[in-house]
Symmetry: C2
Subunit: 395 residues, 2 copies
Amino acid sequence: MSVTQQAVYEPLTEITAIKLSKKLQLFSEQEALTCREIGDGNLNLVFHVTSDQSNRGLIIKQALPYAKVVGESWPLTLKRATIESNALLEFAKYVPQYVPEVYYTDETLAITVMEDLSHLQISRAGLIEGESYPLLSQHIGEFLGNVLFYTSDFSADAKAKKESVKSFINPDLCKITEDLVFTDPFFDHDTNDFEPELKQDVEKLWEDVAVKLEVAKLKQKFKTSGEALVHGDLHTGSIFADSHTTKIIDPEFAFYGPLGFDLGQFVANLLLNALSQKEESRNVLYAHIAKTWEVFSQTFSTLWRNEGRDHYTKTEGYLDYVLQRIWKDAIGFAGCEVIRRTIGLAHVADLDGIEPYEKRIATKRQALRLGRALLLSQTTLSSPAELEDLVKQTA
Amino acid sequence: MSVTQQAVYEPLTEITAIKLSKKLQLFSEQEALTCREIGDGNLNLVFHVTSDQSNRGLIIKQALPYAKVVGESWPLTLKRATIESNALLEFAKYVPQYVPEVYYTDETLAITVMEDLSHLQISRAGLIEGESYPLLSQHIGEFLGNVLFYTSDFSADAKAKKESVKSFINPDLCKITEDLVFTDPFFDHDTNDFEPELKQDVEKLWEDVAVKLEVAKLKQKFKTSGEALVHGDLHTGSIFADSHTTKIIDPEFAFYGPLGFDLGQFVANLLLNALSQKEESRNVLYAHIAKTWEVFSQTFSTLWRNEGRDHYTKTEGYLDYVLQRIWKDAIGFAGCEVIRRTIGLAHVADLDGIEPYEKRIATKRQALRLGRALLLSQTTLSSPAELEDLVKQTA
């Protein structure tokens, strides 16, 4: 698109967002447009621009040069907007059906103009309300199978992959994960946030050497293992869905990381939702976990067999080894995610919304037991069925 | 140094090399200089510039835009000269005593002007002649302990490390290792080079699924595991030495790779030399291997305890785990190196110089057995003493 890019960053307003939409010729000249800022204002501005005439709309997402969390504000690179749009474009090469279409990007303004998904619902909100999203796990499994295979060394050209690794080096956003997922919740750090009733449980965790040793290994893996392009923040709040569509958004944390990372975070968030549900409503979540793994491993295996470029993709036993390692790592990453979403800085509404309070505390205790069990069961837990058993044992 | 950099690459001659030395004021105006090109002409030009008056000299190394191997010529990035000089400068931050001093670099000309080490000997040549280099393993252990610790996530600032990872992304040179160390020798590829008498042994190797599975895992580790800045080609031909000095040269393959990689290649080359020696002369090589590991692990451990920045460096058991993994990986990488130096494209004089021919073939057969045994013993071989036993078992 040949639009002159602006030379200086400045935050858009609802008026300049409409102007930009017109300038990009994304609506016809005559259409009257309405614009609403719908972001939560912590990290990004999100403008929803709609035509008053037609039903058409679009989203303009603009990164803010700071993050506002717990009242404080710290500087945060605008480059994350470029990472996000490049990740969406890269994902779209393999699975365009599972990401919003990108219409335009501007590095200086740190904006991505993209498909309006407001007819869909954020899956975390839906799951909390009891939506089942029958195709969610099928789609996430296909997304992960395709993206992880095609961006890995099993498929990608060695030199092209290294250039891509370079372009997705993402120090600022990775640092957030390194601190908030892998470090702070396991030490007595200021960023942690938990109810006083959990203090004893949390202190026990901080003294649990076996658990910390596993987290240390996973943190090192996260920091050093550039296996494939990962979304980096694939929780249920990063997924729009309805009963037949799934769209993955917000890959500003994308980088080349461990093959099991996204899978672990997604599974953890399904588990957190399961814990928040009544016993009899949990089966749909367990089924989603099993289906995600089944579809992912089938998709990945089929691509490996048909399109594996590395010579060793033909070596007997190698695919099984890789899949086992992905599963094992995913279980470990899920353990970290379950714990950090319970006592770390960024909570999930699944747990925080549980009423009454006593039940919320009891469920968070179970979440801590589950996180610990996941971290200590990485090598023994061999299937989604065993994972389901493990959850039940922590009740 | 404020010297105007040249805008276009062109190969130096002995005359322009002298001119450059004068221009850089590395000799006094009046000194008469002599220059000899001493490179092997395959990858680089190497000019040795000396003063006729004093004993002083320097080395000008210039990358050629192609590689000449087995009569063929293929293009090879000039950027490797920048990688090499940046690696030397990075190493010098921690262990200046073990690398040549860099006086000047020019990215366009792809040159590094550095300390003259011609009073030392390439350690491969010396070891073949029976030199013992009593401090070689002490020095290499210290070099590896310092460089690997300080450039790893256990010490380095997370963001600074990622910027460094980016600047050392080295697709062309890594590709050479991926092909010549981890792939070609394990398949029937054109680049392989071995005596007809070894054909049966080699074909057996190509069909050895257990071995190939281990090499596949190590190749994936090499391609994806950016743990620390590694030299990338630390064989005995990349080390100048005498009885009290050790200098590591030629880090043009440097990149952020697995902690055990350099150690594995160095150990492998000591093992190859051991195989080429009479039984009674091998102890000095075994002692070097044991000492390298001892000094490396002590150095790394002391730095970890005193200067570990990552919170988990205080977690009980983590250091032991990391050291065990480095050792295990090093054994695996050593297995690949022993095999590729026996049947791959780039041989070592240690084996190729063995006379008579029958003995050479017998030793190469042992090298293949040893390489295989190393690859299959990664998890069971727990010390240098056990490694020595393993070598003896392959006799």
